[in-house]
Symmetry: C2
Subunit: 204 residues, 2 copies
């Protein structure tokens, strides 16, 4: 049992907290489990993060800050709408494979406490539809794609990309597919989902 000063205990805690919070949620997580996961004494959690709530907020903030930049592909990129959709869909699915718990974690905890975002929305880097809307309207005027509001298209893009992961257990049951088959379905979506969206909005 080492007692020597560990250079980055604080990060170890955060990493352990991430694991536990993201799989059990705020209410289901136990401070003791986080401490065990980090291999340290429970008091350390409070020494570095004061309370469960603050530790949770640190984890949530980290997760959100990882997810938000993903949206840049679809919101602030300079390529055409069609390219953006293709890129985002492919990128996002790769992202999820690396961080499978994130979308669920965020959506879940946000539903329990929507106030989490009001602070973050003040950040000038917080994702917004402005540029996307302009570009979309331009392409609509050019007759490249059908008339659709930026909000609805954005919701559709998010839905088709995020939902299959968020609702995985439910969809697995309904489609009656095992783990591997479902994984393959998700891989296929890298192009399938993008094509689906483009078909829906492209004027032939």
């Amino acid at each position: 049992m080492k007692k020597s000063k560990d250079e980055n205990t604080e990060e170890h805690i955060l990493e352990a907290a991430k694991l536990v919070f993201q799989s059990k949620g705020m209410d289901g997580a136990r401070m003791q489990e986080i401490a065990d996961q980090a291999g340290i004494n429970k008091a350390m959690l409070h020494y570095y993060y004061r309370s469960k709530q603050l530790l949770f907020e640190a984890v949530f903030h980290n997760a959100f800050m990882l997810l938000a930049p993903q949206l840049k592909t679809v919101l602030n990129d300079d390529s055409s709408i069609e390219e953006k959709i293709k890129n985002f869909t492919s990128n996002y699915i790769s992202f999820i494979v690396k961080h499978p718990y994130i979308p669920n974690f965020i959506i879940q905890e946000l539903n329990r406490n929507p106030d989490f975002l009001i602070k973050m929305k003040e950040n000038p880097n917080f994702p917004n539809l402005k540029k996307f809307r302009n570009q979309l309207n331009q392409e609509i005027e050019s007759g490249i794609i059908i008339p659709i509001s930026a909000e609805q298209l954005f919701i559709n893009i998010m839905a088709l990309n995020v939902f299959p992961f968020v609702a995985q257990p439910l969809l697995k049951a309904f489609t009656n597919t095992d783990n591997n088959t479902y994984k393959q379905l998700m891989k296929d979506r890298k192009t399938e989902a993008a094509n689906f969206i483009i078909n829906a909005i492209k004027l032939n």
Copy 2:
């Protein structure tokens, strides 16, 4: 404080439990809060349902049994794929307005405990894609719609209809819309979402 025998205490409990579980989840819910909500003594919860776990399962089962029949519109109906999509989209959104917590509740708790479904999957009425797949393949062969697997199309339909409600807080923030505007967006989706899907799969 009445002590007289109440004809349907059991149902009162279930109703109260539904309210509390669906807004706070299994881990966040408190037996005392459910008792208070039902206006009875906490011991009654155990008298009728033995444990928190069993009471929760009763609530979950009820919720799932309410959601599952909604899928009949898209899975076992006799109309064309196009009509099914239109009907389901419109019906589902009406359903959600009546039971706003259900999809989130189910998805959330299913992620925490995927085993909940293995018992239910044995039920012969459990939703399955068989009929939908046959019909889809037929329409694909007839050249009415583009080639797409039943699983992918089903996932897309679910995603476009369910996700906007599940991820409401997140989408509200990203699209920077207030409550009323978002409600209007959802209403619009009754036709918008259906048309989007149909555009995506219909051969012109």
